[in-house]
């Protein structure tokens, strides 16, 4: 196994997630779980309001990886995450991937998404082929 620490840098992606974006995402992803929408179910939840889709938050991370790896992300990428806190709109989310190492042509990252207050929304790992 060959290793090095020069995994390509991944530029963070920052985006506002507000209720109109969540509503659009529900349509685009066909996920109409009422906890994400302005519904009685969301109001009655433990958060008392809608929560952004976890996959919408994760989409920012996939976008960041795509920006660095292009098609290699779609044909050889790996993601493993856990959600740590709900994203309550309106919230500005930043997705980051911190390089860890390259081994056998695969770059590894620690990934996270945070809100504008520094609350960690998700954490995990990502891998992508560098050539």
């Amino acid at each position: 196994m060959t290793t090095s620490s020069d995994a390509p840098a991944v530029e963070p992606v920052t985006r506002l997630i507000d209720q109109p974006r969540i509503n659009s995402y529900a349509e685009g992803a066909r996920d109409f779980n009422p906890i994400h929408l302005e519904t009685p179910e969301a109001a009655a939840s433990q958060f008392g309001r809608p929560v952004a889709h976890g996959m919408l938050v994760l989409a920012l991370l996939s976008e960041a990886m795509t920006n660095t790896f292009g098609r290699r992300w779609a044909t050889g990428g790996h993601l493993k995450v856990r959600w740590r806190a709900p994203a309550l709109p309106p919230v500005t989310v930043t997705a980051r991937a911190e390089p860890r190492r390259v081994a056998d042509g695969i770059a590894s990252y620690e990934v996270s998404c945070e809100d504008e207050h520094g609350t960690v929304l998700l954490t995990g790992t990502a891998r992508a082929p560098i050539d």
Partner: protein, 143 residues
């Protein structure tokens, strides 16, 4: 897009390890890709001709959720994806989902689904989805 199953929807509480959902197929049009990108805010010409891998994951997940009643307290806690191939716009993909594990602790139900997505030619992705069903009245931290 995944069809919503017309038959009676499943119940998370009765799922057992090894249970396999009926496979389903979908295709994603250029307009649907654009709707997804507009929603997420991503702009990338890579997706002029192929489907973003996370869009496929989201639609497969949507197909899964469409086959169950969505009870209050259902939380998506974890997700794993391996992307192994491109999917062209309008190409048909088949989704197979099996229950990898199901457990209950202190009234909280945890279920893991394993998903395979393939075209006519090849497997193009795998996923592992963890969900938690928290009983009403019980607050649960994600971390």
């Amino acid at each position: 897009m995944p069809e919503v199953a017309s038959q009676m929807k499943g119940d998370f509480a009765t799922l057992e390890r090894g249970y396999e959902l009926a496979p389903f197929e979908f295709r994603v049009s250029a307009a649907e890709v654009q709707a997804y990108l507009d929603a997420t805010g991503e702009v990338n010409e890579l997706w002029d001709h192929s489907v973003p891998p996370l869009a496929l994951g989201a639609l497969a997940l949507g197909g899964l959720m469409a086959r169950f009643e969505t009870p209050p307290g259902l939380v998506h806690t974890g997700q794993e994806f391996d992307f192994t191939g491109d999917v062209a716009i309008d190409e048909t993909v088949e989704v197979r989902i099996v229950v990898a594990s199901g457990s209950e602790r202190r009234g909280v139900l945890m279920v893991v689904f394993e998903t395979e997505v393939q075209t006519a030619d090849a497997q193009i992705g795998r996923g592992r989805t963890s969900v938690m069903l928290v009983p009403e009245g019980l607050e649960m931290e994600l971390s």
